[in-house]
Symmetry: C2
Subunit: 128 residues, 2 copies
DNA sequence: CGGTATCCTCAGAGATACTG
DNA sequence: CAGTATCTCTGAGGATACCG
């Protein structure tokens, strides 16, 4: 079940999230938002991503029209990835979400700490 | 590897996405953004979610301080979920992303169609 | 350099049955 | 009604090795 079973008018949300939900797409997007990059460059910038996942992720983004892939027929081969205009507009939306995150980061951490230790015992289902 | 290996200054992004990345959190949030709901109500509203996943998802949201869970000691038992203020502010950010999605939905679909059929054959790695 | 191909693992999530 | 307890399975993603 992906989008079909959403049952929401707001369901357009799923379209974004199926894209943003995976581990790497957003990281690649914000990295490319800084400047266009070559494959290896991109892999170094997005720390921890495997070669395979970078290939998979970039291809998805290209397919969705968020990134443009340009091959320069040089030796050695050179491939440049850059955000399309649409990709850039998404990057903006993402940045605002990142801003939200930074703003509420601490509050979330505090909430979790509180949840995991004290008050929970009375307020929530699992006293164990 | 979750947040640690991000290597990004923008890494606050990961904090949001680990939350938004899963299949149901966002759907629950936007549903609760409409109005507070009881458990069963919520399950009917978020079509397709299993009882277990609703429990898991709501608990995560409560833990993060995005949702407040209120138990009314009635017969039969009654539990109300509602967004906290922080949850509401996140809902706003999400809505803007949803708006982006609706705006670019068609463009994405077109891009995919183009990618999956024609031009790709010359422009991209896998001619098969 | 920028990929592809293969194998493998393990968390996320569904189905089902039971409980205070 | 609002959960909890298992059991299972799928597929996203990691590791590794090879290719044009």
């Amino acid at each position: 079940m992906t989008i079909e079973a959403c049952g929401h008018e707001d369901c357009g949300i799923r379209d974004v999230l199926d894209r943003l939900g995976d581990r790497w797409s957003v990281l690649v997007i914000v990295t490319l938002a800084q400047k266009p990059r070559r494959f290896g460059e991109l892999q170094r910038a997005v720390t921890g991503i495997s070669q395979r996942m970078l290939t998979v992720t970039t291809r998805r983004l290209v397919r969705d029209g968020l990134v443009r892939r340009t091959v320069y027929d040089t030796v050695p081969p050179q491939v440049e990835y850059r955000l399309t205009e649409m990709g850039q507009s998404l990057a903006v939306a993402i940045q605002s979400l990142a801003a939200w995150s930074r703003t509420h980061k601490d509050a979330i951490a505090d909430s979790r700490a509180a949840f995991d230790t004290a008050g929970t015992r009375e307020a929530l289902p699992f006293p164990g």
